[in-house]
Symmetry: C2
Subunit: 149 residues, 2 copies
DNA sequence: ATGGCTGCAAAAGCTTTGCAATACT
DNA sequence: AGTATTGCAAAGCTTTTGCAGCCAT
């Protein structure tokens, strides 16, 4: 079993939540697809292959639970549904997204874009910033080649 | 009549769209509330006070139209609906958002945070970036005072 | 036994669509 | 006349909720 999986399951237990087979399966699947940004529906379709009895509501409830424990982060790419990513992916606030307006692919991008800026903002606006999120919209390499070729 | 209003109406006409009373009312209202981030429902409630016959579908269709003409930009603050802002507010890519996690207020914020970065990203990832958007999550001044006071 | 969790189905939002009626050019 | 546009209602989607039954402690 992966170390990340064990850590998440321990965290669930520490917070007094039960480790049901459904929750375990959902967390495992999320880790299997850690590079993607799955929607609830995506995840449901995948876990249903392994446990046909699972219900969509359970998937939603588990995603909410994991988000409330900060295991997952909800992200919205404007395609009509919420998508989720492992919070581990954005440690240090250096995780951002490149969104291709042609094919819709979302690519993670890790770089300290705004280090030190949060304090400047607090001084100027009175907002105490906890987190930030940058989305870049453009055209990915492949779509550009397809358009030119 | 405001200059901004005239410019938008001209733009509509230039693109071969009709200037119906409903569209005119919606654009006027959007300009009146240019500081806010209205949802379709918000806007519907406001314009309905001036024209009780207007339909919600017309509001949605007009918002889509204005967004497709780049007059408006759709933004999502994770509250379950799309909100809109005048694109004029984010000329130069220097318009960002501060979102208070306590009271939900959204404050615009204009500063060149990422100038010059888009080329760096293109060199490193192959993405040609057209636009970007930064959201800062934190606690606003008032909520902090309320918590401390 | 108690309380958490599940699956189903229904309901709730937000948004889109089909269509007949209407208004504009 | 011809076509874009409207308003209504219905449908579509994602997400949430109520509830009876189930499972773990």
């Amino acid at each position: 079993m992966g170390e990340g999986l064990q850590r998440i399951l321990d965290h669930l237990r520490d917070c007094q939540y039960r480790l049901t087979p459904q929750r375990r399966l959902i967390v495992e699947t999320l880790l299997d697809y850690s590079q993607d940004h799955l929607s609830a529906e995506d995840l449901y379709r995948i876990v249903k292959r392994r446990d046909p009895a699972i219900g969509l509501a359970t998937v939603y409830r588990t995603l909410d639970l994991l988000a409330s424990l900060a295991v997952l982060t909800k992200v919205n790419f404007g395609d009509g549904c919420s998508r989720f990513e492992l919070s581990a992916a954005k440690r240090y606030h250096h995780h951002h997204h490149l969104i291709c307006e042609a094919c819709g692919v979302v690519q993670g991008f890790d770089e300290d874009l705004l280090g030190g800026l949060e304090r400047t903002i607090e001084r100027r606006t009175g907002f105490r910033v906890h987190d930030h999120e940058v989305k870049f919209y453009g055209i990915c390499h492949q779509c550009r080649q397809a358009a030119e070729g």
